[in-house]
């Protein structure tokens, strides 16, 4: 049973979904990272509240870990990357603004279509919030598809992970605290590797625009 009320959960999911939509709209990398920080703060806050309600020390430790990795460490690495390589702006997308909006609208409509209505069975009280988190998953994947900048793609993947966590939280399908800590550790390692990898890419190609990396393809 979720400790938060359905109305409040729906509100949080709306904010999370709005953050991903704003990620699509913004042209600044700083804003993308900031929006990710907001997402992560909401997720870790929700987990922390749950740990207090359930009086679970392990869950609290997982929430604190989430906070440290997603709200402190990940943004820190991304900000450093932006400053180091002067990547303040990342305006390159495959689709223009209106087309992006159309795709976002289609993805939200798809996740609210009859195909996903059965999901409400998982948590009947939070059916709408579940569909919003489903939309968030699709839109986060679409962020990695539409953006040419590697940094936006990295944030897109992390945003998708946040969306999956929020889906699990809303549906009450949370894993054990131990598993959550394990997942966080993997994310932590992934962030470090991705940052180093992005630096190396910049070093060799002089850009983090993935469409410029033609030499990676076998001719």
């Amino acid at each position: 049973m979720n400790p938060l009320s359905p109305q409040f959960l729906f509100f949080l999911e709306t904010v999370l979904l709005a953050s991903v939509i704003f990620m699509h709209l913004t042209r600044k990398n700083f804003t993308v990272v900031f929006l990710y920080t907001v997402q992560s703060l909401i997720i870790s806050g929700s987990l922390f509240y749950s740990s207090l309600m359930e009086a679970s020390f392990l869950l609290m430790a997982a929430a604190i870990m989430t906070f440290l990795v997603k709200v402190i460490v990940a943004p820190f690495f991304f900000y450093r990357l932006i400053q180091k390589h002067r990547l303040q702006f990342s305006v390159s997308t495959y689709l223009n603004g209106p087309m992006t909006f159309i795709v976002l609208a289609l993805l939200i409509a798809f996740s609210h279509s009859r195909f996903f209505k059965p999901l409400a069975i998982i948590s009947p009280a939070n059916g709408d919030a579940l569909l919003l988190s489903m939309s968030m998953i699709f839109i986060s994947i679409f962020l990695t598809v539409n953006r040419k900048g590697a940094l936006s793609q990295m944030v897109g993947i992390l945003s998708m992970e946040n969306a999956i966590v929020s889906f699990a939280y809303v549906s009450g399908l949370e894993t054990t605290a131990g598993a959550q800590v394990g997942i966080l550790f993997i994310i932590f390692i992934w962030i470090i590797i991705a940052s180093v990898f992005a630096s190396m890419i910049y070093h060799y190609f002089g850009s983090l625009d993935v469409s410029e990396m033609k030499h990676l393809k076998e001719e």
Binding site: I141, Q153, E218
Partner: protein
């Protein structure tokens, strides 16, 4: 008298002996002599155990089945040896016994050239693989051993890897056999999907619940898959390349029994597992049989590579077996079970016969090749003087494959003819035409096969030597002759005892659930076999005795009239010229008239290259070379267009691999959405 336990013990002993043979050969790989002796002796012992086991099943009905549990739930090592399996195990063991004896001497010419240990290893694995394929009773286990058998035979095909053509032949075989396996896997997956089990026995009991459409798709997939292994036209293209490439005793096994595993599975699936075959299944098989038999023998006639002739002849004989099987399926669907048993018995009889005489012929060809170091028949000639016993055994094999009485080939073709004649007289016009076509094709095939082997025997053993190597040829090693003698004797023994063999094979047909309570349409005693409606009957012992008596009388009369004549040696009249091998009719020349008649099918080609004394003037030719051949219409009209289509599709599909990470993630997103939609729908 003999329990199932006894036969299963011998069965396991056979597999164990072959495994010991395989591992021991590898262990002795540094010593050619030891590896040869170890590998082939254990192959012989294994074959004897296999023969005893299958004989007990066939004659005393000691069928058995057992299951060796595995930690993996789906992969249980399940064996089920009924009379049908027993028959094929008998044929495999019988032929492998004599090929292994033959190999003891034959393999010697590979010493110091190739690794004898690996030959022994793959040879024994191949034997075990074939036997397990014939006895596996679960889908997954069957597919694994089918693959083991195919891989072992592939490594045997490329054993002489220093010859580039062998590697190419092996690659073609590897590709074709795996295409076949893909179809087989699809067929089995469909059966699994429809019945929810991997066990053949349970599939058989649940087959009533399978939709007719599913059964029809399984039929087509299995026919292509197992037909590729059996070498039916147009899936045969690997066979004329792969069989000649392998060492001759392996060629004998591949042609004699390996391709029959395809036939075994066709019978098992169509007549045992999937009951109630519709009429069109039988018609399709009958037509494929008619086409394969006729085209197979025509291609054999155009070849001058002795092993390729035999390989094409295998396609012909597989066609003949399919004529029996097809007619059986048709009779069964028309509820004429006694005649269905006749067709099946004829198919099984020809399976055994072909195994015997084709192995004999491959062994004979191998003996010749090991002396001549070439497979080109145009370079042989007159070998009967240098290899008289080999020539005699080869002659018996040629007579048998040409369906001459009293040899075994004659009897099985006679049985198939009876089945086809009954089809013509006992069915309506919708099916009658297929039987008429099949009977006509078989009659043509018989005549052409006789011509083909007159050509092979004449070009190889008769007339004058056409190359200096012939003068150095020596009679085969004793183990080679023992192997050939045994099989040559069998062609005659099986022919004379056809009545008894027919009785045993009736038992095999009657052991199938669909025929269990039906009497066959024929009667068979050790002396006579005939149809119950008095349409025809035959006595093979009588034919044999008659032939012996007629020969003895002729010999006696000739002796009587010529005993006082003096033998005078002189020079052959040569019209004033000097006799030379160039005056002989060659294998190519012999077949030329047939090629001309069937030029529409065979598409003969002629390449002429001329070298001039003065390349600038080009008036006086120095040499002129004419190369005759036939166009490979299957490659030209079937495989090449398929190849071009596949390449075009591949080029198109290659665009998916754009190198752009965004595209890859888009594919993931689209796939995710598609899967979600499929699940939701």
């Amino acid at each position: 008298m003999f329990s199932a336990f006894t036969s299963s013990i011998f069965f396991l002993a056979a597999l164990t002996l072959w495994m010991i043979g395989a591992i021991g050969s590898l262990a002795f790989m540094k010593n050619d002599q030891r590896a040869n002796l170890w590998g082939n002796f254990f192959a012989i012992f294994g074959a004897v155990a296999g023969l005893i086991s299958s004989f007990l099943v066939l004659v005393f009905g000691s069928a058995f089945s057992f299951n060796i549990p595995s930690s993996l739930h789906l992969l249980s090592l399940s064996f089920n040896v009924d009379k049908l399996s027993g028959f094929f195990i008998f044929a495999i063991s019988l032929i492998s016994l004599f090929t292994s004896i033959y190999a003891l001497g034959y393999v010697k010419h590979y010493y110091k050239k190739y690794n004898i240990g690996t030959l022994g290893f793959f040879y024994n694995i191949f034997l075990a693989g074939m036997v397990i394929v014939s006895s596996a009773s679960s889908i997954l286990f069957f597919l694994i051993v089918w693959e083991i058998m195919s891989l072992a035979s592939y490594f045997l095909v490329i054993f002489e890897h220093k010859e580039r053509s062998n590697i190419q032949a092996g690659s073609l075989y590897f590709i074709m056999t795996h295409i076949g396996t893909a179809f087989i896997t699809l067929a089995f997956l469909l059966l699994y999907h429809a019945t929810g089990t991997l066990d053949f026995e349970i599939i058989k009991s649940n087959i009533g619940a399978v939709k007719p459409l599913t059964k029809n798709i399984v039929f087509i997939l299995a026919l292509i898959g197992f037909g590729t292994k059996a070498g039916i036209i147009p899936f045969h293209i690997w066979l004329p390349s792969a069989h000649p490439a392998a060492p001759s005793h392996v060629s004998a096994l591949m042609s004699g029994v390996m391709i029959k595993t395809g036939i075994y599975m066709l019978i098992r699936i169509f007549m045992d597992i999937m009951a109630d075959a519709p009429l069109w299944w039988g018609v399709v098989i009958l037509l494929i049989g008619a086409i394969s038999s006729l085209l197979g023998v025509l291609y054999a006639l155009t070849e001058h590579d002795i092993k390729k002739v035999l390989a094409y002849s295998s396609i012909e004989n597989i066609g003949i077996i399919l004529l029996g099987l097809g007619s059986s399926l048709i009779f069964w669907s028309m509820n004429m079970k006694p005649f269905a048993i006749l067709g099946l018995t004829a198919a099984l009889f020809h399976t055994l016969n072909h195994a015997v005489f084709k192995s004999l012929l491959f062994m004979g060809a191998g003996a010749v090749i090991s002396e001549m170091h070439t497979r080109n028949m145009e370079e042989y000639g007159g070998l009967i003087k240098y290899m008289p016993q080999t020539a005699f055994f080869f002659l018996l094999g040629s007579m048998s494959i040409s369906a001459l009485p009293p040899f075994n080939g004659f009897f099985s073709e006679w049985l198939i003819f009876q089945s086809l004649f009954k089809g013509i007289s006992g069915s309506d016009i919708s099916v009658c035409w297929a039987f008429m076509l099949a009977a006509g094709s078989l009659a043509f095939t018989g005549g052409l096969a006789a011509m083909c082997f007159v050509n092979v025997f004449g070009a190889t053993f008769l007339a004058r030597p056409r190359s200096p190597e012939v003068y150095h040829a020596k009679e085969s090693n004793v183990t080679l002759r023992i192997g050939m003698f045994a099989l040559a004797a069998l062609t005659l023994v099986i022919g004379i005892t056809a009545g008894t063999v027919t009785n045993i094979l009736s038992g095999v047909a009657n052991d199938l659930a669909i025929f269990r309570s039906s009497p066959p349409a024929y009667y068979s005693t050790p002396l006579t076999v005939g149809l119950k409606n008095n349409f025809a009957s035959i006595s093979m012992p009588f034919i044999f005795i008659s032939l012996v008596l007629v020969s003895a009388i002729i010999f006696f009369i000739v002796f009587l009239f010529t005993r006082k004549r003096k033998i005078k040696f002189g020079t052959t009249w040569d019209c004033g010229t000097t006799l030379s091998p160039r005056m002989e009719i060659t294998a190519t020349g012999f077949a030329n008239s047939i090629i001309a008649i069937f030029r529409g099918v065979l598409k003969p080609t002629k390449q002429v290259s001329i070298k001039y004394r003065d390349e600038n003037m080009r008036y006086f030719p120095k040499t002129e070379t004419v190369k005759l051949g036939t166009k490979d219409i299957y490659r030209g009209y079937f495989y090449r267009p398929l190849h071009i289509f596949t390449i075009k599709v591949s080029e198109y599909v290659k665009r998916i691999q754009s190198g752009n990470i965004n595209m890859y993630i888009l594919y993931i997103l689209l796939t995710l959405i598609a899967i979600l939609l499929i699940v939701a729908v």
